[in-house]
């Protein structure tokens, strides 16, 4: 099985490539990236006027399976991923049961083996049941095949327990992902704390509830010499704290999600529950800081925080509605529209944050087009516009904050491990 992609603008930051080249895929691996490859491949794709890049590695995805198959399944989420140009997802552990033991991990691995259309990596929990009380058997989780640990949706409140977790993770060679939120400060908040929460009569979530926990997790990372990755950074103070820590040599990386550099708290003024997520959409100043952080490298990665919810859970009173939005199918287009077309990042910069950096953070042989690497490739029509509407989304849930938006950039092909997983 071989695929030859001809004449596209190939972007591969790892190998400092940004040129019109051909890409040859053979036996699930990248075989060659060069000018005018003359080879009789099984499939030849004309990629002229298109972008050819490594497939996206999305470090923050909620598959909902097992447990909430009404919201999403491995099959539907990975289909959505492929449609969005995502070839690898890190599945968050807040499933039912939670990924806190090898048995649960094996259960999910079985489903993935049957249903997944792209690579699905599993993230285990830090604590049993994500309750922040008792550590999971981190070594056993590693052995069962998880790629990271996180209590996603919750932060481990106890400093001692978190420090212990970081030490165990380091021993096991696992990355620890931190959901940075001090629930004592965020309380029952539902949107960003500020004038908008006041005028809407809703409880606010302060920046402080995020950045104080970012600061603590970085402090613990320093003390344990372990690597931490801060999930979904949303506010300016967090960006500053992370940038400073990086300079002092702490092993800290972080991600943000497309909605944090696209939308502000003003999107909440109509009580649209599709704009409700945690952390919440922040102020204009925060949005600017997130963009700046992406530009200067303080923010390493873009991840969707794909969080599907059914209409029943969203089409209700704002305060009762679930937190979270879907994003697998829109993250690339939103980023092209908001970052490339507004000159925040160039193509190599965007691909670095979508592919190369997350692959490095997770220690994967992906996110690059190096000969011999796994052949995860995405071909993009970057000038093509489309309007996000519910029927266009293949994810089981339609809770996108970008419904009705006109976005630039459509994926033509997603090739995962040398096989075409999606074709427009």
């Amino acid at each position: 099985m071989s695929i030859l992609i001809k004449g596209g603008r190939v972007i591969d930051p790892e190998n400092k490539i940004d040129a019109i080249l051909d890409v040859l895929i053979e036996n699930n691996k990248i075989s060659k990236v060069a000018k005018n490859i003359n080879s009789s491949a099984d499939t030849v794709i004309d990629a002229s006027n298109k972008i050819v890049a490594p497939g996206i590695v999305d470090m923050h995805v909620h598959l909902r399976e097992p447990g909430r198959e009404d919201k999403e399944t491995v099959a539907t989420a990975t289909l959505a991923a492929a449609k969005g140009g995502v070839t690898t997802v890190l599945a968050m552990p807040n499933t039912q049961p939670a990924m806190d033991c090898p048995e649960s991990v094996r259960l999910l691995q079985e489903i993935i083996r049957k249903d997944a259309k792209v690579n699905v990596l599993i993230c285990g929990t830090i604590t049993k049941g994500r309750l922040g009380q008792e550590l999971s058997d981190i070594a056993a989780l590693k052995k069962s095949g998880v790629y990271a640990i996180s209590d996603d949706g919750c932060s481990v409140d106890s400093d001692e327990l978190m420090l212990e977790a970081l030490k165990k993770a380091k021993q096991a060679g696992l990355l620890t992902i931190c959901h940075a939120e001090d629930k004592k400060l965020s309380g029952k908040g539902v949107i960003n704390l500020g004038f908008n929460s006041t005028r809407l009569g809703l409880r606010g979530i302060s920046n402080e509830s995020e950045y104080k926990r970012v600061r603590r997790d970085i402090e613990l990372a320093k003390n344990s010499a372990a690597a931490v990755h801060i999930a979904h950074v949303s506010c300016r103070e967090s960006v500053e704290i992370i940038a400073k820590a990086k300079k002092t040599g702490v092993q800290v990386t972080c991600e943000t999600a497309p909605h944090y550099f696209t939308l502000t708290e003003d999107a909440l003024l109509g009580y649209d529950t599709n704009m409700k997520m945690n952390p919440p959409l922040r102020s204009k100043e925060d949005l600017i800081a997130i963009k700046q952080g992406l530009k200067d490298g303080s923010i390493d990665a873009i991840a969707s925080d794909h969080a599907p919810h059914t209409e029943n859970e969203k089409d209700i009173e704002f305060e009762r509605a679930e937190f979270g939005v879907v994003g697998l199918e829109t993250e690339l287009s939103v980023s092209i529209t908001e970052l490339i077309n507004k000159q925040v990042l160039d193509w190599p910069g965007l691909i670095t944050r979508f592919c190369l950096n997350p692959a490095r953070i997770l220690g994967l042989d992906r996110g690059r087009l190096t000969a011999g690497s796994f052949a995860d490739v995405v071909i993009i029509s970057d000038q093509q516009s489309w309007i996000v509407d519910k029927p266009a989304l293949v994810s089981k849930s339609k809770n996108s904050p970008f419904l009705g938006s006109c976005l630039k950039g459509l994926v033509d092909y997603t090739i995962c491990n040398g096989i075409i997983a999606y074709q427009r």
Binding site: T198, F318, E319
Partner: protein, 310 residues
């Protein structure tokens, strides 16, 4: 200019002209309640549904009286006894009421934004009778109507709003309405009960009630609910009365004709002394009377706008 909106969700969403139109229309309606036969046929054949998710006697009854004086039929749905108890969603409830061919839903809800959501989902009119901490537009309209009746104008008036601003929909609606009509609004409360960024509405804030009262032409005293929100720090009751309670001693140092308002029900001895509540500056019962006229105006204008769109 006329009224074109299908719903009344809050005063934040209205122009000064729209607010004036409601007030002017209310003035015409006030006369109806003074007649021997307190009824006009304007909304004959229309059905208004009172959908109250929070217990409220005065607002519900006021709306009911207003609708009936316009000859509308009124149906009261108490959520304790309805299918809401059985887990029906708000939108489903609304669509069912719409399917009954009702014309207006008057809704009180404990969640902020519930009226906005319902209005978006339905073709029939929604009148917000209070949603969470968000807005209570008809209360503010009747407060402003009363103030205008007493003092002849709104523009340039110094109006103090005293009490738990953070958790008050009455405060929010009053702030929007009064500032839009050109009043100088000062919010007076303990620091912890002033919500973040409230001064961006144009209102000033203060924690010194005596200073605020000195300049005030009117004071709107909010009901203090110490039990409402667990997790929020509240001042101690007696301490609150001492520092912010409206008493005769305090009023003695205020303008002689200061207008004292309260949306009710009053906690005597907590936010206001009995002497003040029943005193010569108090217009609390006039507010209740005016509430009928204001709500008649709102129901009339909204139902006219819907007819015009048909």
């Amino acid at each position: 200019m006329g009224w074109t909106k299908k719903d009344l969700l809050g005063l934040e969403y209205l122009t000064p002209e729209e607010i004036e139109l409601i007030l002017d229309t209310a003035e015409s309606f006030k006369e109806v309640s003074t007649r021997e036969i307190k009824k006009v046929p304007a909304l004959r054949g229309k059905t208004a549904v009172n959908l109250f998710y929070e217990p409220s006697t005065r607002t519900r009854v006021s709306f009911e009286v207003a609708a009936k004086r316009l000859s509308a039929d009124v149906i009261n749905i108490a959520t304790e006894t309805s299918s809401v108890r059985k887990g029906e969603t708000l939108i489903d409830t609304g669509k069912n009421i719409q399917a009954l061919k009702a014309d207006i839903i008057i809704m009180r809800h404990n969640y902020s934004g519930a009226a906005n959501m319902l209005a978006r989902a339905l073709d029939i009119s929604v009148v917000n009778a209070g949603d969470g901490w968000h807005e209570h537009p008809t209360q503010a309209l009747l407060d402003i109507f009363t103030l205008k009746e007493k003092l002849g104008k709104i523009k340039g008036l110094n109006v103090a709003i005293v009490g738990d601003i953070a958790h008050s929909r009455v405060a929010r609606s009053n702030i929007w309405g009064l500032t839009k009509l050109g009043a100088n609004v000062t919010l007076c409360a303990p620091e912890m009960l002033l919500p973040v960024g409230i001064e961006l509405t144009g209102a000033k804030t203060s924690s010194n009630i005596d200073e605020v009262l000195k300049k005030a032409d009117a004071v709107n005293v909010l009901r203090m609910q110490f039990e409402r929100d667990e997790g929020t720090a509240f001042p101690e009751q007696l301490d609150y009365f001492k520092k912010f309670g409206i008493t005769e001693e305090r009023l003695a140092k205020a303008k002689k004709d200061i207008v004292v308002m309260h949306p009710g029900p009053i906690n005597r001895g907590i936010e206001m002394s009995s002497e003040v509540a029943d005193g010569k500056n108090s217009v609390i019962l006039e507010q209740v009377t005016n509430g009928i006229a204001v709500r008649m105006a709102v129901l009339f204008l909204i139902s006219q706008a819907r007819e015009a769109k048909k």
